[in-house]
Amino acid sequence: MTAVQATVEEFSQGAESGNAGGQYLTFMLAGEEYGIEILKVQEIKGWSSATPIPNTPEHVLGVLNLRGAVVPIVDLRKRFELESIEYCETTVVIVVKMQQSDQERTVGLVVDAVADVYRLESSDIQPPPDMGTAVHTEFVRGLATVNEKMVILLDVNHLIDFETVGPVGENSAEQCAAQAADH
């Protein structure tokens, strides 16, 4: 608890400079390790099936009852257009809070497994490489190297655009393909 509180200040300082230091929760997705700010994480729960919402993109699995709140569930593999796998016992839903245009949304992200919690200084974080204008990197906050491995830090707020419930950018198909190729 105190550790989290301690990071609040560091975090808010870092946020202004763009590549924030602080604690990150990392999770696995198709062999890559991704990190999100731990302060955005509300809880982690096991996978249970959601009520599908018709006419939404494939990555929106539906809505789940989270103690009386109706929370949308997003499959990150599908969101990044990665190959789908069967959900197994390590599959978890990370419930995060997204801040989008004055509205705070609670959203569940389905990932392969949770990995670790790292403390990263802002100096550890590199900006995402320039992949040309065709590639949108709004939701990639930066890259960090931990134990000789690359961790992709995501910006939760730009992960899903709920106004269109579609992919983030216009060229996101290419973008995701490009990312997949990069990996």
Binding site: A50, T51, P52, I53, P54, N55, T56, G62, V63, L64, N65, G68, A69, V70, V71, P72, R105, T106, V107, F162, E163, V165
Partner: protein, 695 residues
């Protein structure tokens, strides 16, 4: 305890009560018979004006109290029969009511516009001047002096009412001062009424008995000057906040003495009055037109309702303790007792739910009370004679719904006055009585409230509406429409502009907006009309927005909820009764009507048990006067569901109005029939019959 907060709260009460007073004045003025005013009505109008004046002075809103004073003077003359009640007088009074209302609305954001009040003051003075200029002038001098420093003029040593606000600092006892002693002293000089405030904020656990936690509003009546009063408080002046304001002269008091009990609450509002019995409903209280604009969040609840709720909670506690007996060691001999307990619990829950919803319920009169004025003014302006009948004013409706239904109702009433009712000449020519009748009727029906706007005017000229619709291309040249369909045309966007229908007896200004507002509230509106006899608009609304009576339907593995209000019937049909039009859309025959079939599994792209019409059920649902058969696999139970917003964490979806959590914790989506029909039309490529709903 913060004094500022306390004052703001009291000022808010002043505003609310003044608005109520204005409503009483307004309805009273409208009910006055010219020439022979009913003394009781006159008195109630006068009392309301007097309370506003007194309250205004107490809280330092001198603009309001001064203006109200002029109004009061004129009213007093009318009341005492010194002045005849004329139409001009009543009109001027009504304008003054509006003016005060504006000034009070201005209080909220701190800007009081005095230009209008100044103009009206001149007119009031002119009217007063016709009889006794001397009196009004003197009064004016006195009121003007009331806010400022006290003049030493001997004239002020008259029998007067003083409002004294006394807020001692906590340490006042330490300097050996006792408020009680000062009050006694005041009592020896005249009549005193004391109202203590701050009692309910006291925390007896942490009370310091050596500190003063209360403050007081005093109303003092007697032949004393300001100096004499100030002298009494002289010892504590530096240990308290003190304000002494004159309220009224004796002449006004004497006549009003009998009514003192009515007047007092307005002048000394108590902060505890959050829950109070509303004043007699028959008085047509509070027009919410002003209040609703700045979303007032407090609500007055009948004390009976609160008592009933407390009783129910008491029963719940008993049930709980009864059930908790079983939590220790349970054996099956106790099963019967457990079952009984659970039954009782479910009954308690239902009762409490109803009771809690009842707290949000307000009588329809809140929405209706603005109409006497509106009908009078509009009828006047149009040169039409109208009698307004209000029926079912005590029908209760959710506060949110009630506030939002006001505007559509005004629209419908204006419309009926403007296009529906004829001029006296036309009416006489048509063999009808000169005065038209406009009736507003509210009643409960099932889980809904029904509001009807009925006029005995010319009705809708269906031929003209139809030819107009054909002209504008809304209806094909050969298409035959039923009367109902023709009536529904007037709710169509684009059809309803003035230029298009101004030469018709039909209606049409912004009717599509009315319909949209009502369907936003989960209700619907329909129209029946007979040419030459009149029209009737029927609005059907759910009693509350939070809970919905739903029918669970199943498609494949998914359950959806359809509001019971929109379901007409459910039928099982066979393939023979279904035909396909141009290979695109299916229709089925229901008695003498052909209805399109909306396959939910196609629309939502979910697997269904079967595609065969005969295997499933058709839920005949209606939205905006359009009927469709929704094809589902099965019907499940009917239940009340609590509506959860999908938007809170996700976004609005077409065809879905929200979600709810079922007994087993699963989420079920609530279908929006109107949106579904829209989707259906888009999908089948038909021109939507309804205006596109802007997201």
């Amino acid at each position: 305890m913060s004094i500022d907060v306390n004052m703001a709260e009291i000022a808010q009460l002043f505003i609310e009560e003044s608005l109520e007073g204005l409503d009483i004045m307004e309805s009273g003025l409208l009910n006055l018979d010219l020439g022979a005013a009913d003394p009781e009505t006159m008195n109630s109008i006068f009392r309301a004006a007097h309370s506003i004046k007194g309250g205004g002075a107490t809280f330092g809103f001198t603009e309001i109290s001064e203006f109200a004073h002029h109004v009061e003077t004129l009213l007093d003359e009318m009341r005492q029969g010194q002045r005849a009640v004329t139409r001009e007088g009543v009109d001027l009074m009504l304008q003054s009511v509006d003016c005060i209302r504006e000034m009070i609305a201005g209080l909220a954001d701190g800007t009081i516009d005095t230009t209008r009040s100044a103009e009206l003051e001149v007119e009031l003075a002119k009217m007063l001047g016709e009889v006794e200029p001397a009196v009004s002038l003197q009064d004016e001098v006195l009121t003007a002096s009331s806010g400022g420093s006290a003049p030493n003029d001997p004239q002020t040593v008259e029998h007067r009412v003083w409002a004294i606000r006394f807020e001692p600092l906590p340490k006042i006892f330490k300097s050996c001062n006792d408020p009680l002693r000062m009050f006694r002293e005041l009592q020896s000089l005249g009549d005193l009424e004391v109202h203590a405030q701050g009692v309910d904020e006291l925390d007896f656990e942490q009370l310091d008995p050596e500190e003063c936690h209360l403050n007081w509003t005093l109303e003092f009546q007697g032949k004393v000057s300001r100096e004499q009063l100030e002298e009494i408080f002289a010892w504590v002046l530096d240990e308290c906040e003190l304000s002494i304001e004159p309220l009224a002269l004796e002449a006004e008091i004497d006549a009003d003495d009998l009514k003192r009990t009515d007047r007092v609450p307005a002048e000394s509002p108590e902060p505890v009055a959050k829950v109070s019995v509303p004043k007699a409903v028959s008085k047509k209280p509070a027009v919410k037109s002003v209040v609703s604009t700045h979303e007032n969040t407090s609500i007055r609840v009948n004390i009976d309702k609160v008592d009933a709720l407390i009783n129910l909670v008491g029963e719940l506690v008993i049930t709980q303790s009864m059930l908790s007996r079983f939590s220790g060691d349970f054996d099956f001999t106790q099963l019967e007792g457990l079952r009984e307990g659970l039954n009782q619990l479910s009954r308690n829950t239902r009762d409490i739910q109803e009771s809690v919803l009842g707290i949000r319920m307000l009588p329809m009169s809140f929405a209706f009370s603005r109409f006497p004025r509106l009908v009078r003014d509009t009828g006047h302006a149009l040169g039409k004679k109208v009698e307004l009948r209000l029926v079912g004013e005590n029908t209760e409706l959710d506060k949110t719904v009630l506030e939002k239904i006001g505007d559509p109702l005004v629209h419908l009433v204006r419309n009926s006055l403007d296009h529906g009712l004829e001029t006296p000449e036309q009416r006489v020519a048509a063999g009808k009585p000169e005065t038209g009748v406009l009736e507003l009727n509210a009643y409960h029906e099932g889980g809904n409230i029904v509001i009807e706007v009925i006029d005995d005017g010319a009705g809708i000229n269906k031929d003209k509406v139809l030819s107009k619709a054909r002209e504008s291309g809304l209806v094909g040249p050969d298409e035959q429409l039923s009367d109902e369909q023709i009536n529904n045309l007037i709710f169509r966007a684009g059809f309803s502009t003035v230029d298009q229908v101004s030469d018709l007896s039909g209606r049409g200004v912004g009717m599509d907006v009315v319909r949209r507002n009502i369907s936003d509230l989960g209700g619907n509106v329909s129209l029946t009309s007979e040419s030459g006899v009149g029209s009737k608009f029927t609005i059907r609304l759910p009693l509350t927005l939070a809970i919905l009576d739903g029918q669970l339907v199943r498609v494949g593995k998914e359950s959806y909820i359809i509001s019971l209000v929109s379901i007409v019937e459910t039928i099982q049909t066979s393939a023979e009764k279904v035909s396909e039009i141009a290979g695109q859309s299916e229709v089925f025959r229901l008695r003498d009507e052909y209805l399109p079939i909306l396959r939910l599994h196609d629309l939502f792209d979910v697997p269904a048990d079967s595609d065969e019409i005969a295997d499933g059920l058709l839920v005949v649902a209606e939205a905006n006067g359009q009927r469709v058969g929704i094809f589902v696999d099965d019907l499940q139970e009917q239940q009340q569901v609590v509506i959860k917003s999908l938007e809170a964490n996700f976004r609005q979806m077409q065809g879905i109005s929200g979600a709810t959590i079922l007994g087993d914790g699963r989420i079920a989506l609530i279908l929006d029939v109107q949106g579904l029909i829209q989707m259906f039309h888009e999908k089948t490529g038909q021109v939507p019959v309804l205006p596109a709903v802007t997201a």
